[in-house]
Symmetry: C2
Subunit: 359 residues, 2 copies
């Protein structure tokens, strides 16, 4: 192999006010009166070298502000200390807390995260994967929309671990972390049952979302466990919007008779629309009708009148767990299958203290 | 320098189902019947080598799926093709589009972005900078809250360019990109003036925000240019919330006489509260009162009744421009000072077609 080719001192010379030369391994060698090879041995703690010589070289390097180069170290440790995060969707409200948790967890192991936004474009995604392989990432985390199973991430280079979070693929060997929507919905509905509500409606998003199907399943199981029969006209699917929440109230309260005394909503935007429409009809929340949303989108939940009880998917913790699992896979463990992590119910006034008085 | 120390084939052996060995430079050498040094020369296109030999080696490497290692290439090109993004605040609604634009722009130059969340913690920030220097990033972009000037990012290693976006520091040598709040506010107020409104109120956030001061300045300049005198009781500061928007309406409409015929709001949440409170008082938007918000937070602007006109800070473009500027600085240009990029007014129904009928 050509010596010097992978040397770390071939940065371009200073070329502007913001770029001054960094100290190089050659500077250390010159000042310590040894060869570059000896400096390399000393800083990488390998090869045979007298303790005294090693210490002297380390001191010179430190004085000079020379940092052993992670890039170079990566090459012979065989780890780049980097992980790529590919989001198939744009970085949004759901991806961000996951990203934060992942980054926070991995930073504790000195791992850094490359963020790659594939914007649902397979060509862009392939280009990102190519670039991540070139940078010798130790693993790739795929995040994104959950609506459908996504195709397996194509990684040409074997041996790079891939983990899916808030995203699933049809490959049974893949490992995927996702919130437990069904259990979250079951808890929310249980909470309404415990408040003494008996006519609990469910207003949710489009049928094609797995999250919609799982949350409805949780809703049904909680009602069944309480011996309640869900009225068919009380389970409504629509869009993920405030407008749909308002329209659903118009449908549910067309007749006073048999109208719901609680509404579990598929997300917080729907719940916000439901709360506004009920207020505008003079129906009191939570006295007449209690509301629980889903997502615990703080800024919406807090601004709703009254503030919204909601199911939190604990996305930051999901991101942290993805980081921990990635470290285990990098360490050689084999993980596969879909793992669902618990949600938490956050109780605010829309199903809160005031609602208890109703019983 | 020790030959072989920086070799790229020292990855650990396969240690689990998800980790198979990647082809190494040694595999290529063995199959091509040449030395590792010769492979390195061939793939890096340097050293003297017969064209025929070079081509044969490249073909073997390609067949084997061996990728020239960016890490190794980085070392002798002197560029790591990576940029660090440090957010002083959490990644939020404002940081995300900036991040997306930055990543999109840099990806075109094969640069990858490390995301580092410093969560406003100086110790965490220092640790991130340390780690980025170790990874030999070609530059660092600092993003975050704009409320106050932040301290200059401390980078121990000289020569690493730093650029601030949606964030400013007190160092006059620093280069900072930020939206032009004043011009955006001026456009919004002008728009209301052109609709024939004469009693234009301004309901905004906390005084201590630079954005509040700049937007108010734009509002005042637009009124002055139109020969309108802003009523002192029409300029109200509060918090960035819907609740404050509702309270402000209560203040502004305490007396019918002299009440505003338009309200320019400091952000979309305030505008949402204003719209709700006006509707609940039976005041028609935009017929009686036109509203313009700020931020163009789509999900809020679209859900408001009627949908909200708002000033868009073009944050994704701000991120793209940060990427372009970073490439120029890496290329040796010296940039300094604060540069303000234009906002765009997005007109929807709250000040839209219906409002024109008012004239």
């Amino acid at each position: 192999m050509d010596t010097g080719e992978l040397d770390n001192d071939k940065r371009p010379a200073a070329s502007g006010g913001q770029r001054r030369a960094r100290p190089t391994i050659r500077d250390v060698a010159r000042l310590a009166h040894v060869s570059v090879g000896t400096v390399s041995k000393a800083l990488n703690r390998n090869g045979s070298l007298r303790q005294e010589t090693r210490e002297r070289i380390v001191a010179v390097a430190k004085n000079l502000g020379f940092r052993p180069n992670d890039l170079a170290q990566s090459l012979h440790r065989g780890q780049s200390l980097t992980v790529g995060l590919i989001s198939t969707d744009s970085f949004g409200r759901f991806t961000i807390p996951i990203m934060e948790g992942l980054e926070e967890c991995l930073a504790d192991s000195r791992m850094s995260v490359f963020m790659c936004n594939a914007t649902d474009d397979p060509v862009r995604e392939a280009r990102h994967v190519e670039s991540l392989i070139g940078k010798r990432v130790d693993g790739i985390v795929v995040s994104g929309r959950r609506a459908d199973l996504r195709p397996k991430l194509v990684v040409q280079s074997p041996g790079i671990p891939v983990l899916y979070v808030y995203s699933q693929t049809d490959d049974p060997e893949a490992y995927s972390l996702t919130p437990d929507d069904e259990a979250g919905a079951l808890d929310a509905t249980d909470h309404l049952v415990e408040l003494g509500r008996r006519r609990i409606a469910h207003v949710t998003g489009p049928q094609r979302f797995e999250a919609v199907r799982l949350r409805r399943e949780g809703y049904r199981k909680a009602l069944a466990a309480a011996g309640l029969e869900p009225a068919a006209e009380h389970a409504l699917t629509g869009t993920w919007s405030e407008g749909w929440g308002r329209d659903a109230v118009a449908q549910l309260f067309r007749r006073k008779r048999g109208s719901p005394d609680a509404i579990f909503c598929g997300n917080d935007q729907i719940a916000r629309g439901v709360a506004d429409a009920l207020r505008e009809r003079g129906i009191s929340v939570p006295d007449d009708v209690a509301i629980v949303g889903f997502d615990n989108w703080e800024i919406v939940a807090a601004a709703t009148r009254p503030p919204l009880s909601s199911v939190d998917m604990n996305l930051k913790e999901l991101g942290r767990e993805a980081g921990r699992c990635m470290m285990r896979i990098i360490g050689g463990e084999h993980l596969s299958g879909v793992r669902r992590l618990p949600c938490s119910l956050i109780v605010r006034e829309s199903s809160g203290a005031a609602a208890a008085r109703h019983q």
